[in-house]
Symmetry: C2
Subunit: 198 residues, 2 copies
Amino acid sequence: RLLIHPSPIKVYDQENFQGKCLEFTSACQNIMECSVDNIRSLKVECGAWAGYEHSSFCGQQFVLERGEYPYWESWSGSNAYHIERMMSFRPICSAFVLLCTQNHKESKMVLFERENFLGHQWEINDDYPSLQAMGWGNNEIGSMQVESGSWVCYQFPGYRGYQYILECDRHGGEYKHYREWGSHAQSFQVQSLRRIQH
Amino acid sequence: RLLIHPSPIKVYDQENFQGKCLEFTSACQNIMECSVDNIRSLKVECGAWAGYEHSSFCGQQFVLERGEYPYWESWSGSNAYHIERMMSFRPICSAFVLLCTQNHKESKMVLFERENFLGHQWEINDDYPSLQAMGWGNNEIGSMQVESGSWVCYQFPGYRGYQYILECDRHGGEYKHYREWGSHAQSFQVQSLRRIQH
């Protein structure tokens, strides 16, 4: 089922959907090339997207599912540093083009206690607002293998703190050290984790 | 299955689990009565808890599932105002005393388009990081009826923004206007919603 939405993401250069509005159907590597200095609000009309602090998909990551985001805090969540910037974004798993080909109920990944896919392992296919409540031994994950689907991990329980977006079709789904989770990752700390909704 | 953990919640008056530590097995209505001026970090060892900005369970609400919360942003999420205070807390559904009597898979609630349980309705029993992605028509919910379990709603998609804790055994599970969601609620805006993990 091929379904292309006319404008799956709309970004604005002012808060509350004010100012200059740009509509995108695919990735934007640097919003400044569109003569916009920063994104200050946005609406996702279709699919799931990854937003980034810097151009070229670098820096802090923000998972963006369908809905309205009127200001920076509405997508950033609780983070250790508040640099109010979002300079690039891209669709996750081409979700907006091929809706329904990937059922998020079929998402699967394996958590490993230690880096390089070593130590105790646990296969998951559900959302976990608290990994420790479900029996994971500590507040860290050493490495992760994404078998299918796209996922977002968080530093703190209840989907708070830094966001790390993990996908089966990037890095071959292999994230063997926190350095591979994103340039903003500073430790192995992960306390909640869920599938991304397309 | 009756299971009482020796100290289901530990709170500290300094960040990073430093300073004076107090252990609780039940609700605390005012942390200042324990000679502590504020809670600056905490560990949930068992069950799920609700934290509050003010004494007597008033003000902003914070859902606290098992795990470690080293500073205010780690439990507050992204909120419109940053008053770094948590003065009272209580267990949710006595979760830490009667573990396993309430399976969160059996949680159920009904969303209504308009206040006072009017308009289009939708029964749910799953987590929704984006209600609009699943077909809800707009970025608001008029009223909610919790049939079973305990839930947390959020202002923005992806479990961000203000948190509203809703339980079947409080208010008879009826939340017929945003004023009943909590004293910090200022609008009907709800864009994501999930079950609380015990």
